[in-house]
Amino acid sequence: MSEAGLVWSLLVGLLAVNLLVSVYGIIYGRSLTKKLISLTIFSDTVYVFFIMVGYRLVYPTVPPVYVELTRDQLEYLAKHAVDPVPQALVLTGIVIGMAVNALIGFGIIQAYRLKKTVTARELVGFEEVE
C-alpha cells in the first residue's frame, strides 16, 4: 500500500476504461472518421500500457541512454534505467500505426469522393435512421 501503488492502479483503471470507450467508438461511431479517431485512441492506449510494462520504480528513474561512456555509468544504468525493449516496440508500433491510419484516411477521402458520404450505414446502402 503506497502512493505509487494508488497512482499505478488509477492509471490501469483509466487505461482499461479508455480501451472500452475506444472499442465502443469503433463499433458504434457513425462516421468513418470517428471510427478512425477511436482506432488511434485504442492504439495509443495500448502504447501507454507497453510503456508501463517497462517502467521501474526506483529513485531516480532514468532513460536507457549513456550520458557518459564509462563503466560506472553502466552499473548506474543497470540499476536505474527503464526497459528499452517496450520503447523500441512502441516506436515500431507508432510507425506501423501511422502507416495504417494514413491508408485508412486516404480510403475515407476516396469513399467520400465516390459516394459523397462517410457514414458507415449509408456507405453500405442502409438509410440513415435517426
Binding site: 503506497s2 492502479s9 476504461v17 520504480l57 526497459d83 528499452p84 502507416a99
Partner: protein, 251 residues
C-alpha cells in the same frame, strides 16, 4: 447531450471503482526491477561483447539488434504512402497563383519557426544514436515545416520553390534505396543482412557514429520527411483540381 454526459460520468466512475478495487487488493504495484532482456540490452549496447557501439539502447535495438524488423517496418510505411499517393495521383501540379496566404505578421513568424524546426529536426535525427530520437522522429518533426508553410503561405510557395510532389517522391525513393543498400552491403562480404559493427566503422574522424545507425537514421530522416511532405502537398490541392484530374483520366 445529457445521455452522453451521463455515459461519460458512468464510465469514469467505473474506472475509479476499478482502480480502488485493484488498489485495495494490493495486487498491482509498479515493479522495482526490469526484465532480464532489458538489462541485457542496457548492458550490451555500448560495453558488451555484442555491442552496437551506441550509447542509446533504444536506437541500438531498433536499427541493430532488431534491425531486420525495422527494415521491414520501413517497407510497410513506404507501401502505405505509395498506396495513398496512388489514390491521389495527379499528372501535373496546379497552376501558380500570386498574392495568396496570410498576413505579414504570420508570414514572418512562420519563417523563423520553420527555420528552427529544420534545425531541431536535424539535431533529433543526426544525434539519434547518442540521445533519444532518431530518423523517424526527426523526419516527422521536419515534415511539420511544410505543413506550417502550406496554410500560411499556401502550397504555391512550395511549388514555386520547386518543392513539387515529384521531387519529394524521388527524394523518398533515393533515401529508401540508401536504407536498402546499407542493409544489404554486408552480404557481399559474406556477413548477414543488417550487420552493423562488424562491417561499418564505429568512429569516423574521431566522432562516434555507431556504424550503420547513423546512416540508417539520416536516410530514414529524409525518407520520412519527404514522404509526409508529399502526402501533405497532395492533400492540400483543392478538391476541384483533383476532380479535374480524374475527369481527364477517364477520357
Amino acid at each position: 447531450m445529457g445521455r452522453r454526459l451521463l455515459g461519460l460520468v458512468l464510465v469514469y466512475s467505473l474506472a475509479l471503482a476499478l482502480a480502488l478495487v485493484v488498489y485495495a487488493t494490493g495486487s498491482l504495484q509498479p515493479p522495482h526491477e526490469i526484465k532480464r532482456l532489458g538489462v541485457f540490452y542496457v548492458e550490451e549496447t555500448f560495453f558488451g561483447n555484442m555491442t552496437a557501439m551506441s550509447p542509446e539502447a533504444v536506437t541500438a535495438i531498433v536499427w541493430d539488434y532488431r534491425g531486420l524488423d525495422t527494415v521491414y517496418e520501413t517497407a510497410v510505411f513506404f507501401l502505405a504512402v505509395v498506396a495513398g499517393l496512388a489514390v491521389f495521383r495527379v499528372s501535373k501540379t496546379p497552376p501558380l497563383k500570386r498574392g495568396v496566404g496570410l498576413t505579414e505578421i504570420s508570414r514572418t513568424s512562420t519563417k523563423i519557426v520553420a527555420a528552427l524546426i529544420v534545425v531541431v529536426s536535424a539535431s533529433i535525427a543526426l544525434h539519434g544514436h547518442l540521445t533519444p530520437g532518431g530518423g523517424f522522429q526527426g523526419g516527422s518533426t521536419l515534415a511539420i515545416a511544410p505543413l506550417l508553410v502550406i496554410p500560411i503561405f499556401s502550397y504555391y510557395a512550395l511549388l514555386a520553390r520547386r518543392l513539387t510532389p515529384g521531387l519529394l517522391v524521388t527524394l523518398r525513393g533515393l533515401a529508401l534505396t540508401a536504407i536498402g543498400l546499407v542493409a544489404l552491403l554486408p552480404v557481399f562480404k559474406g556477413l548477414e543482412v543488417v550487420t552493423n559493427i562488424r562491417f561499418y566503422p564505429a568512429y569516423i574522424l574521431g566522432q562516434l557514429v555507431s556504424g550503420s545507425l547513423f546512416l540508417y537514421n539520416s536516410s530514414e530522416y529524409i525518407a520520412v520527411a519527404s514522404g509526409f511532405a508529399a502526402v501533405f502537398l497532395y492533400l492540400s490541392f483543392e478538391e476541384e483540381f483533383h476532380e479535374e484530374e480524374r475527369g481527364e483520366d477517364h477520357e
